[in-house]
Symmetry: C2
Subunit: 637 residues, 2 copies
């Protein structure tokens, strides 16, 4: 190889290295660096313009009403519903809601469902509305009766689609029962999400899950809760998760029965890679809930047609459901069959009454029918998958709100705790249930209630522990303002307070004896020292063995080495500059002057300039020679 | 390297080569080898059991009837339709059918659509039903009045979803107009596909597009047409394409206004690769119809929600559409807006009346409403994407039926002719139209009619040409039964009739002078010749330069070379053994004895054994040495 060729091959080597480092960096960013938190306007107006700044902010009582006009109209429609074509032979629910069984449900709705009694049932809890950001938002508010000696636990419970506040009617009594041994009393708030049931829908595009999160957080503040707990599944999970991410200061704990990350790239990569060796990421018992991925994906594809059409054409599909009670019932009740257990598809009646009563199911339907809100409820899918896709971005931003998941066996998706903790940094626990599906609050109310209570106890413990922790002094490198607050050890083992350097310009550098850069750097650092010592420059050299082990020796070895080179500037004891054990001074330097592609120290001879006030003001990479700093340093003399 | 290491590295080399060859072979298979034709039962029974073998096979007239009972019920529903929630501000059709505009359509349907007049309009053509495989199949039959001196052209026109036989009402008059200069007269058949409109739906699962193709082909035979032309778009394209693939003997030509391959792997690979250098596969003007792929994919995703839900839950989504005329109108008419031009979404009325009249659109709706068949029509999606996915398999099987596409600018998908010809081996032409969308027959009836006429003329020419071709003697290698029918040239240029070898056992081999196998082979061929000449063995060696150019010389060079080696067996002139120019004898040999992974000759010294009757009976690969054949040859002495 002649020198020209050598030069060429060296250049290619450098080029390839640069490309590899860059691509590694971008892959890392793509998978592991959370996106910026999307800006949320906490006062965005969703009602008609002009915006009414002085609008009524009172909380007004509401009574659920099934008017006679509505009931008669509904009964007419049920009576005169069009005969359906017979189903294909022996298909059960595999082509959707079996029309033969639908006739039986319609009969019940028409003849047996007692509208007035059910109205009363729904009114057993107190209902209210209050105007938030231009929209009347409905909620139930259930207050504890006896709170003497108990801690009141404000809990908001968030329904999903195609659910409603009705989802929680069977859980609430278990939660509100006195729990003297736990010393807590629940105060429960159950809203209708905007566009659902008795909550108004936005008049203009843009109200997706993130914007719902803003409204719900504002609602809780209106009610008087600055700190509260959240429970949610399905869309309620999504909204709750966004509140815990965007407003962590308001959330004491997040309990989810849909513990799933829909768009966390690293978590999805992790789960995908896990399919190669499942035992690495999930226990043997739980692996079948996740693997083979293909099987679970095909269930998801089979069950997501509604989402696809609602995300793209909610107005189109909504018309028939608004106009026809049979259409609405088939569309919504199918989910209560198939999402509760995929095996239900084989049954001619979808096993619908195995876990639910028709009254339960029709109550939920009535909330959609009476308010004529099926179309407005479906718009949230279009607002989720629009260009902003805010809700997917929030999924990728970590939160420190303590989180607890309950995993029912037939839920539409399953993810291991290790994946969930990619986002939920304080993922405390999962409860694994060997039955149950997507509508857990209605299917297993007692079990759900018990789990929520356990979670709240754990959340409270978590905060007690955090409080203890936070009473301790935070680490110095987090709070320090100048390098003068740090103490280091000289190469001879003496404590040196950096405040001794007050008034000097400092050049702080990590050194090593066996690096390709060693000769030039020591030579030029000496030269700088000679030239500018008079003007107040002090060079502080910290040996470090973290880069390819190029500073392996003891303090004595290092001293001998530097003596040979006639070093006159100040030398200190060997330290770590990266990692958890990095010296606090170096943690501080890196925080104050972060690097181009991450704040970690890249190699030996990284250089920090500290001004005469002790503030780190410049950082130079290892390849910048000490003498190249002369020009920049000039401004500090 | 010691010999052990050499051996190892040679083994690895062989292993890697084998793996590469195998993977290349499997990739080739995956992309380029068509699957086997799925078996289709041409008598499958779709009606209720017991199967009625003697069922009425007559063709019975049908009159389209809008009964007063039906009209009154429909009007009631329209009048009492439930008020729709107002749309979001300024969204046009971007969230689906705009409910404000839907009200106007409903007003028209209720007050202005003249049911009796439209009934008459629909009855302007003769309607019939006949029972095919247990189902009453409806069709219109329009016969030419004056056929003196004209060739009658039987043409079946196949509608799509959510279309019907109404799609063709505006095209038919243009086709039926006398075309004296073309000397043809159309006889048009327009069926309702099974489950659509006046054709009965199957009572059991399994009637997908391939099974529809069987029924339609049987219908044409019932009507008396063994040979006919097909026109189709959307589902009509899919069914037509399958008929042209499974029953090419019945199809004279296929005209499609949806020229698209949904699952042809090689074609899709080709289109995907084409996105790197679009100019390689499509003209500059047409590239924007295809690229960037991402843009076209996102339109497809936006427009395929209906397909997703119909493929998975047709019964569920069908209920509201069966029960509510408003629901049906929104669901179906939205497609006539958005699939005609994606720009229509921005308009508050979806530009619906820009290309269509409400009478046209409501006629089509009435066919679904009056027959209550929207649910049964949607089932074909579930039958398409079931486990068999027959319709996708047929997409990958080539057909020689002459095919002609017309490409409207805003059709949902676009593919270049070069991609289409992966399947349509006789893809004759594309007509490119600078406007128009998915419902072309209704949007541009005159243009469509003219294009169909042009296509039929071209199809007729194609067949005339084919007939001439087929009147010529088919190539000898296709018809020959023994090698004795061939004549070859000796290395000296003399004609040698192989019939001269009658009664001998022949070993026919392609040779080369500069191959690694040359020495061994010539040596051992000589040995075989010496040993078995007496018993009747004749060795026929054909020099060939197609393998790495290892037989570059002239006949003289080859003669010199073989003289040096004392060759006494028979040598012939240099030939090609692979490719179009291969010598007919070799084409015959390869056809008679095809190889393990394709019938092409793999290398020099492939060996064919021909028995004493002139029939090729064995084939050996190049690496089999001539002496290894001794044992096998023994049975022929």
């Amino acid at each position: 190889m002649n020198s020209n060729e050598k030069n060429k091959s060296f250049k290619s080597f450098i080029l390839i290295t640069v490309i590899q480092v860059l691509s590694a960096y971008y892959l890392y960013r793509f998978f592991f660096i959370p996106p910026d938190m999307p800006a949320l306007d906490t006062e965005q107006w969703w009602g008609p313009y002009p915006m009414d700044l002085d609008h009524d902010k009172s909380i007004r009582p509401l009574t659920i009403e099934f008017s006679d006009v509505m009931i008669n109209d509904l009964r007419e429609r049920l009576l005169h519903r069009r005969p359906l074509q017979p189903p294909l032979e022996n298909v059960g629910f595999t082509y959707g809601f079996n029309p033969r069984y639908l006739n039986q449900v319609m009969e019940y709705w028409h003849n047996k469902y007692n509208f007035k009694e059910r109205e009363q049932f729904l009114n057993q809890y107190d209902h209210f509305v209050t105007n938030i950001q231009g929209l009347d938002i409905h909620f139930m508010h259930i207050k504890p009766k006896n709170i003497a000696g108990l801690e009141v636990v404000p809990l908001i419970m968030l329904h999903g689609w195609p659910g409603s506040f009705r989802e929680f009617y069977d859980v609430i009594p278990y939660l509100m029962a006195e729990q003297p041994e736990q010393k807590i009393a629940f105060e429960i708030i159950v809203p209708s999400l905007p566009g659902f049931g008795y909550s108004q829908a936005s008049v203009r595009p843009g109200l997706g899950p993130a914007e719902m999160a803003v409204i719900i957080n504002n609602l809780m503040k209106r009610i008087g809760h600055d700190k509260y707990y959240i429970q949610g599944g399905d869309l309620g999970h999504t909204v709750g998760s966004i509140i815990a991410t965007a407003f962590p200061e308001n959330v004491l704990g997040f309990h989810t029965n849909f513990p799933v990350l829909l768009s966390h790239r690293a978590a999805l990569l992790y789960i995908t890679c896990g399919s190669l060796i499942p035992s690495l990421i999930e226990t043997k018992e739980l692996q079948p809930r996740l693997y083979p991925l293909s099987e679970h994906w095909s269930r998801l594809i089979e069950e997501s047609g509604y989402m696809h059409i609602q995300a793209t054409k909610p107005e189109t599909v909504g018309v028939g459901l608004s106009d026809s009670p049979a259409g609405l019932a088939a569309y919504i009740l199918e989910k209560f069959s198939t999402w509760t257990n995929p095996g239900n598809k084989k049954a001619g009646d979808g096993n619908l009454l195995k876990k639910f009563s028709l009254n339960q199911l029709l109550d939920n339907l009535m909330i959609y029918w009476a308010t004529n809100t099926v179309t407005t409820s479906m718009r949230v899918y279009a607002e989720s998958f629009n260009e902003k896709q805010n809700f997917l971005i929030f999924d990728r931003i970590p939160t420190n709100v303590p989180t607890w998941g309950i995993k029912f066996k037939y839920e539409l998706m399953y993810q291991p705790d290790t994946a969930l903790s990619f986002k939920y940094k304080k993922y405390l626990q999962s409860t694994v249930v060997e039955d149950g599906g997507h509508f857990a609050a209605m299917e297993y109310p007692e079990l759900m209630a018990k789990d929520i209570i356990q979670a709240v106890i754990k959340f409270q413990k978590f905060w007690k522990f955090e409080k203890q922790e936070s009473n301790e002094t935070p680490p110095l490198h987090e709070t320090a303002r100048t390098v003068y607050e740090f103490t280091v050890k000289s190469i001879n083992g003496r404590d040196v307070k950096l405040s001794d350097y007050k008034g000097n310009v400092l050049l702080i550098v990590n050194v090593a004896s066996q690096c390709g850069l060693t000769t030039t750097n020591y030579q030029q650092l000496n030269e700088l020292h000679e030239k500018y010592h008079q003007k107040g420059l002090r060079i502080l050299a910290f040996p470090c063995n973290q880069f390819n082990g190029q500073e392996p020796g003891t303090s004595k070895d290092i001293l001998n080495f530097t003596k040979d080179r006639g070093v006159k500037f100040d030398l200190f004891e060997k330290v770590d500059v990266n990692g958890d054990n990095a010296h606090p001074l170096w943690k501080f330097l890196k925080k104050a002057q972060s690097g181009t592609i991450g704040d970690f120290i890249k190699w030996n001879f990284s250089k920090f300039v500290v001004d005469r006030n002790g503030v780190p003001v410049e950082r130079y990479a290892p390849h910048v020679n000490p003498l190249d700093l002369e020009k920049d340093l000039a401004k500090y003399w």
